[in-house]
Structure formats: C-alpha cells, structure tokens
C-alpha cells in the first residue's frame, strides 16, 4: 500500500439525457514525497481526476466506481464534513486559473488566514504569523498581505495561491496547470519554487498539465491519459527515452524536449473521441497510425515492459517498429487522410 492509491476509478458526468465517463477505470499510486505528472489533451479527464481527489466535482459529476485511499483511509463516500477537514490540510489544490481563484473583495491576507483558521486552533494572530511565513516561502513580502487581488500581478497572484495551498503543509498537493496563464519566464521560476517547497515539506504531488516538457523537468512519474483512460504510465526518465504507446510517441513529436534537436514538429491528426458514445476498443484507435481491426473492438490491457512501467496497447512486440515509423511525418499524414476520407464518406451517407 502506497501513500495514495487510486483504484479502478470511474467518474461520470450526467449530460442532458446521457452520461459521460470522463475518467474510466483509472488506477495509479503515489509514494510519500513522489511527484507524478498527468498529461493529456484537453478533455482527457486529467482535471476531472484532480476534482475527484478533492471531491470538488460539479453537481452533475460523481465517482461511480473505484476507490481512493490516502494513507490507508478511504476517501470515496466520506461525509461532507470529513471531506471538508481533509481539504487544504491533507490535500491542497493549486488551481488551474489562479487569476480568478482569489476573491476580489477580500485582501490576500484575509483569504490566507481564513483557510488556516478553518483547520487549526490558531487564533487570528497565530494564523497571520503562519500566513506571513508561507508568504516568505513563495517570495512575497508581508505588505502584500494587505493587497487586494486586483492590485497584484499575475505572477504574484499565482504565488499567493501557492502560498495558500502550502499553508498547512499538506501531504498531497494537486497542481492543476498551475502556470498555464503565466509567461514562460515567470512560469519557470514558479515551477521551481513549487518543487522546492514540495521537497522541503516532503509532500506528494500530482501535477496536471498538457505540457509534457514540464513533466520531464519536475516529475518522477508520468501518466499519459487519453479519453478518460490511462494509456501509459512510467518513470519519467524511461518514458522520455523510450515511450511505448503510439499516443505517447505522437505526444512526444508534438512537444519535443529542448535537449533533443528535432527537425520538425509533427502533430497528431484528429480530435479526442466523443465520450458520450459507447466506446469498446482502444480510445486512441481512430487516430492511431498503427491501428488494426482488433483495436476498434477490444480494449487493450496493460503490459509491463519493465517494472513500474505500464502500457495499454495490443502490440507490445511491435514497439520498435512503431517508434521508428512514428518519427516520420508520412506515418501521421496517412491518418489525416484516412480521417478526412471517413468524414467525407460519413457526410455522403448522411446526404443520401
């Protein structure tokens, strides 16, 4: 048993008359102090996992199967009050849109103190002292405690949100695209600050992003998601040296590492699947250049090319071939042409 265990997690949204499984049978675990990156395109379910862990799903969303245990304690089905006690103290979130995550009518200090006081027996003064401490950790001056959000720059607001998340030394930090709204220079500085503090207080971290180069820098493990399912899960260094899944290969083409000099960027043609439809096979089969008949009808199980590395693909034996072919633009162009052709044919059928 690890520090955090997520097992067979399903999260379903009710949309109109139908329902949509945004997270489908996801399992992973996290050691104390480990940081894990979850990557994938928009709509692959990564933010839903974050909200699921925090139990902050919108009203039409619910965990429909599986379990989440933190330190051996089951989180699914906890009472509202028990969940409230966990938030910030045990699991803290650095949210996706720090720009709007601060209430415009209260000072930053008030908002920090409020969070600290909700979980501790610190008085006002004790909470204030703690808030100033975390402010210093993220590099904000004490006088900023009295600022309102609109008086601060984007980077400062982001740091204030980070300070808030770290104010009670949470054992798990969930960072949901914490730097997407910032410019690259600030982004880098803040990323390193988060990592530094995370190591200092030895908390575990789940880092959610669509930018795999960030994960390569700061995370020990990477989970690649697509269409609500895990495609590949691996220690970061092996992943970047030798990805296995065709989707991972495509992602790597689209986000080359700075250390690797490539001639061109190759994007993955097509769009993620419509999760409202019932999908049987591999979620990626439509866009996969190596897809076979089997891929559309049968869900691939994980195979482990090495301990701690899981890949959900039907063709473990053809990995070398995939790797070779995926670095050529032509391989993906074929997919693009096929998708266009299929689209036209579907249109023709509808017209007829």
């Amino acid at each position: 048993m690890s520090f955090l265990d997520v097992t067979d997690l399903d999260i379903t949204y009710t949309v109109g008359a139908g329902s949509l499984k945004a997270v489908d049978g996801v399992s992973f675990s996290l050691r104390k102090g480990e940081s894990m990156g979850i990557v994938g395109e928009s709509g692959c379910g990564k933010t839903t996992i974050a909200k699921g862990l925090m139990q902050l799903l919108p009203k039409n969303g619910a965990i429909t199967r599986g379990s989440i245990t933190l330190n051996g304690r089951e989180l699914v089905g906890l009472s509202k009050e028990a969940v409230r006690r966990l938030r910030l103290k045990e699991i803290a979130m650095i949210s996706q849109s720090a720009m709007n995550a601060l209430n415009p009518v209260y000072t930053i200090g008030d908002q920090l103190v409020e969070g600290i006081m909700a979980h501790t027996s610190f008085g006002n003064r004790g909470a204030y002292k703690r808030a100033v401490e975390v402010f210093e950790m993220v590099g904000l001056e004490e006088k900023r405690m009295r600022s309102f959000p609109h008086q601060m720059s984007g980077g400062m607001k982001q740091r204030a949100v980070i300070a808030m998340a770290l104010s009670l030394n949470p054992s798990l930090i969930i960072a949901d695209e914490p730097t997407t709204a910032l410019d690259v220079v600030v982004q880098d500085r803040i990323l390193h600050r988060i990592i530094k503090i995370q190591k200092e207080i030895n908390s575990s971290m789940i880092f959610i992003t669509h930018d795999i180069s960030v994960v390569s820098e700061i995370c020990e493990t990477i989970v690649v998601m697509y269409g609500g399912k895990v495609m590949e899960m691996s220690p970061t260094d092996t992943f970047f040296r030798r990805p296995f899944h065709p989707y991972s290969l495509g992602l790597k083409n689209a986000f080359p590492l700075i250390t690797e000099i490539t001639d061109e960027l190759i994007s993955i043609p097509g769009t993620p699947p419509n999760l409202l439809l019932e999908l049987k096979g591999c979620r990626f089969n439509e866009r996969c250049p190596f897809a076979q008949q089997k891929c559309a009808v049968e869900l691939p199980l994980f195979y482990e090319p090495e301990p701690g590395h899981k890949v959900a693909c039907h063709f473990p034996e053809r990995v070398e071939e995939f790797r070779e072919r995926s670095s050529h633009r032509d391989t993906w162009e074929v997919v693009r042409e096929r998708l266009i052709r299929e689209y036209m044919e579907k249109g023709a059928v509808e017209y007829a």
Binding site: K80, R84, L86, R87, N103, A118, H150, M164
Partner: protein, 322 residues
Amino acid sequence: MLGYIIRRLLIMVLMILLVSTMIFLLFRTMPGDPTASMVDPSIPREARQALLERYGLHESLWTQYAIFMKDLVRLDFGTSYFYNRPVLRVIQDRLPATLILMFTAMLFAYIIGIFGGAWMAWKRGTKLESLGITFSLIFRSAPTFWVGLLVIMFFAVRLGWFPAQGMRSTGYVGNTFREIFLTTDFLRHLVLPAFTAGLYFLATPTLIMRNSMLEVLSEDYIEMAHAKGLRERRVLYRHAARNALLPVVTAGALFIGAAIGGQVLIEVVYSWPGLGREIVQAVTRSDYPLAQGCFIILSTLVMVMNLIADVLYAFLDPRITY
C-alpha cells in the same frame, strides 16, 4: 472619495434645477385651471381675477418661472392652494411617515430578499427554489390594496394582533418627532403596512440576488473557497453573497422611486398619512405648489439614494475607487 462626493453633489444641484424646470412646465401644460377647483365657478369675474393675481397666475409663463426658480433657490416652495400653508410645512408633516414606512418595508424586503435569494441560488433546481420564486412573484403581481385588505382581515380583524388603520391610536397627540414616531403605539401601527409593502418589494431583491448568486457561484474563487475546506455556509454567505450584492444595491437605489409610487395604494388602504396619498390629492386638486414640491423632494430623494449606492459600492468592492 470626498472630492467625488462633492462633485456628485454639485451635479445633483444642477440636476434638481433641471428637474424642477421640467416639473414646472409639466404642471403648466396640464389641462385644468387651479382656480376652478379652488373657487366656486359662480363667483364674480373680478373676484376670480383677484385670486389669480394673488397667486401670481396672471403673469406670463416666463415671469412665473423666474419667480418659481428664485423662490426654489431659497428653498421656498410656495404656499399650498388647498391647505393655505407653506408647502414645505405640509411636506415636513407627511414625509417622515412615508420614509419610515418605506425604509422599514425595504429593510424587511432586502434582508429577506438577500438571504432568501442567496439560499435559492444554492438550492438551484429544487422544489424549494421554485416555491420561493413563486412566493415572491405572487406578491409582486397581486394588487397591493388586495394583499393589504387580506392582511388586515387576517392579522387585524381575525387575530387582532395589530391595529388596522392610521398611524396612531385615536386620542393620542404627539407634537415632537419623538413623541410621534418613537412610541410602541406607532410601531404597532407600522407593522401591517410595512409588512404589506415589504411583500410587494420582496421580488426585486430576491430575484436579482438569486441571478447574481448563480453567476458568482460558478466563479473560480468559489471553488477555491471550497478547496480551502471552508464550511458551506461560510462559502455561501461570506464569499459568494458578498460578491453578488452589488447589483442588488444598484437595484435598491433605483427602486426607491418606484417604491414611493407603489406605496400610494398602501397608504390609502391603511389610512397612512404619508406623502404618496398627498401627491395624488395635490394633482387632482391642481394644487401646483404642493405637487411641484412633492415631486422635487422625491426626485432629490432618488438622486441622494443613487449617490449613497455609489458610495456604498466603494465599500463593497475594493476594485472601485473614486
């Protein structure tokens, strides 16, 4: 901030002069002749002429206007034709009763409306929410005199809890403000009309608050407040409601004007000696000075309330500075 208020006050003075001009012209273009209602039509022509001259009505429109404005600047609204007393005195007698009734009713409506609206947004999509909307809209749409009569029937006649009519018990005479308004007798008389008016006012703050809450509840900082592990009630009232309040404050200031109009019927039903009833009577009696005075006071009131709302903004929302 102070500079802003001073600037606003100066603009207000200009606005009042402008409004007064419009009110002046409005009454002069209205059909009817004040002498007709004041004087028996059978009196001799000379007597009528003498009356006209006494009130300056024989002068040209321009001269009348000049006199009117000159007096206005000195806060002299003239003498009521009907009461034969200075207009300002008549208004002074009536205004407090109306204002007290109105503010009590608005306080009632706004407190219930703000909390109720916030709560309804929280309970979005439940039966309780639609019940709340229906409830507030029923009293918004029902004629106030009818609701007033029902309230009288139930609370005054059937239960006998509160008096049904007037502002004080018969026989009670008070001279100072304190003697008139700061008595339990007055408060007992106030309950039913304030309740009826409050029910009528209720829909506006409730529905605006509900809408504005729904918008605020989808903001990221609300999710953040939840993520901080705050209690739901704290998120709802401290974080969401505070931000949702602004549009309600605006609506409140604008609502004052409408409220006085809406209150006329209530003043009639409860025989409440207020300004609303006085205005209606002044207009039907062609009592120009009194009607003019009332309208000018009311428009000033609306402007003052707007200024208060704008100043309140700065306190409610730190992003606003003047």
